[in-house]
């Protein structure tokens, strides 16, 4: 208790760390939330995404998102398989939020050169993956407003930690 008190007094006097500027935060902040907060302005359609996918994604994820070997995940299909003995978890069958698709592609893909795609390109390949999964049409315009509104097939597929201990705890 005494230590905590002493510490808070000391810490308020010793400023370790320096205030972060708005510019610095803008440079690093790439978080995208399910309600669309954090999405940059931009737009794209599946039709526009085809060329980008062919040039920057197909090498690893295969021509139509089938995946390759065990290394390169499949991005398409599996809807209806989650209750089967061999569930296929993909963007289409498993992911609850369309914003996560945009976020994953922008922050981590293409694997060798992440964060080199422009927002419009990310909207376009996101649209393509959603289209291949039968979620939107080829001409549907994905932008910072429409993306968070896309309802994913498995949107309601998640429940909180349900392990038996959670029941004992109550």
């Amino acid at each position: 208790m005494f230590e905590a008190l002493l510490l808070s007094t000391l810490l308020s006097q010793t400023v370790t760390g320096r205030p972060a500027s708005a510019e610095e935060i803008r440079k690093f902040d790439i978080t995208v939330f399910p309600d669309g907060k954090g999405l940059p302005a931009g737009k794209g359609t599946a039709a526009a995404g085809k060329e980008i996918y062919k040039a920057k994604c197909a090498e690893c994820h295969n021509e139509k998102g089938e995946g390759r070997d065990q290394q390169y995940p499949r991005l398409v299909g599996g809807v209806g398989s989650l209750t089967s003995p061999k569930p296929v978890k993909t963007v289409g069958s498993y992911w609850p939020h369309a914003t996560t698709v945009w976020d994953t592609i922008f922050r981590a893909m293409p694997y060798e050169t992440p964060r080199t795609l422009k927002p419009d390109e990310v909207y376009a390949v996101t649209a393509l993956l959603l289209h291949w999964n039968g979620i939107i049409s080829e001409t549907f315009e994905l932008n910072e407003k429409t993306l968070p509104q896309v309802k994913m097939p498995n949107r309601d597929g998640f429940i909180p930690d349900a392990r038996p201990y959670q029941k004992l705890k109550k």
Partner: protein
């Protein structure tokens, strides 16, 4: 000197880069070894060969894992060089002089810390385990590992030194309504996980040291998040950003992965705590008992909910159970070594261990876990592990 011994001494000399030492040895076998300054950063004896295990297929690109060889180690602290690894975009090279930790979002005072800033703050040092929630996934799926590395090697235990996350969040002055903090790594894929504020303000640490020296690149050099007792994936490595928010980001890793799919088609999400578990490491798969008679049964136990209270061992396939000795000190959310003397009668048998933690939680059987969440839940498996001791002394997975 036998030729075998001589060969080994030559190898030792060679590893020290000492040709003359090898020559000398034939005339003066008792001559001193290499001098103090020969290995300013020490290494183990050239006779010791224990290595991390990795699947060949995942070595080529930076996505994959390597396992701690639990069955070849002693005590509780995992040597830093043998800590398990799990990366999603390889191991980045980060200059600590350039590295910053940014805290922003729902805070009144966004702040950026350098490594020097962080080391100036009050530090805390404690042992904690880190376990990947995929540990034991093969056991659940029915492809049990042939040895303790393959069955449980995504578990390691280190002494960590760092700063309490609560100290940093207080400095940034969190706003009311803040309930999650999104932690992000500086690796190429900018791995991100959302952490509930109660955990962040409880025992979460931002650590810069592991077993007395700077943390290893594979463990997040120069800075990582450490969430005691929680699934390893959430303890973001190469930590460079903390985004305080009112909701989780629902990042790739916390939705598409690390969620437990039930037979109903629903999946549980944010199952953070690693429940009580244990594994016998001696005798264990791939080892061979030299013959009937005395053997010590020894293994590791841990719980993400606190201290291990008791470990019971059975040497007759689960009919009778005896309490094992727990080597002190038993620390919360850290690995403990358990031991039981055993007189082996030379007959084939099955040995197993069961951990009970201080909350009274008892490590379940595989059957209980299957009944609870089915064979496709992939993560958070902590079933009782058994090993078959054959009459010839060889130990196999069952």
């Amino acid at each position: 000197m036998t030729s075998n011994k001589r060969r080994r001494l030559l190898a030792l000399c060679a590893s020290f880069g000492l040709a003359s030492c090898a020559k000398q040895e034939s005339t003066t076998p008792k001559s001193p070894g290499a001098g103090l300054s020969m290995r300013p950063y020490g290494d183990r004896s050239p006779f010791e060969k224990t290595l991390r295990g990795a699947r060949e297929s995942t070595k080529s690109i930076g996505v994959g894992s390597s396992r701690t060889p639990l069955h070849e180690l002693y005590g509780t602290i995992t040597p830093s060089s043998l800590h398990f690894e799990r990366h999603h975009a390889g191991v980045p090279v980060i200059d600590p002089a350039q590295h910053r930790l940014l805290i922003h979002g729902m805070v009144d005072a966004p702040v950026s810390f350098s490594m020097d800033d962080l080391r100036r703050l009050p530090s805390i040092t404690r042992p904690y385990f880190i376990e990947c929630s995929g540990n034991g996934g093969g056991e659940l799926a029915g492809n049990a590992g042939a040895d303790a590395s393959r069955s449980h090697g995504l578990l390691s235990n280190s002494e960590w030194t760092g700063v309490k996350l609560s100290t940093l969040l207080s400095a940034a002055k969190m706003q009311s309504g803040a309930s999650w903090v999104i932690a992000e790594g500086a690796d190429a894929c900018r791995m991100a996980r959302s952490i509930p504020i109660p955990k962040a303000m409880d025992d979460a640490l931002i650590v810069y040291a592991q077993n007395g020296e700077a943390i290893r690149p594979e463990q997040g050099y120069p800075l990582r998040l450490l969430l005691p007792g929680w699934e390893g994936n959430a303890s973001i490595k190469w930590l460079h950003r903390l985004h305080v928010a009112s909701e989780p980001a629902m990042s790739n890793q916390e939705t598409a992965h690390y969620t437990d799919l039930h037979p109903t088609g629903k999946a549980s999400i944010f199952s953070f705590e690693m429940e009580a578990s244990s594994v016998i490491t001696r005798p264990s798969g791939s080892q061979k008992l030299a013959g009937a008679g005395f053997h010590e049964i020894s293994g590791l136990a841990w719980s993400g909910r606190g201290k291990v209270a008791k470990v019971e061992v059975s040497t007759d396939g689960g009919k009778a159970w005896q309490a094992a000795v727990l080597d002190e000190p038993v620390m919360s959310k850290a690995v403990v070594r358990f031991r039981l003397p055993w007189q082996w009668d030379g007959q084939a048998t099955v040995i197993l261990s069961r951990c009970v933690d201080e909350t009274g939680y008892v490590q379940p059987t595989r059957e209980q876990i299957l009944a609870d969440r089915g064979p496709n839940s992939t993560y958070h498996y902590n079933g009782i592990k058994s090993w078959k001791v054959e009459a010839d002394g060889s130990v196999k997975n069952v």
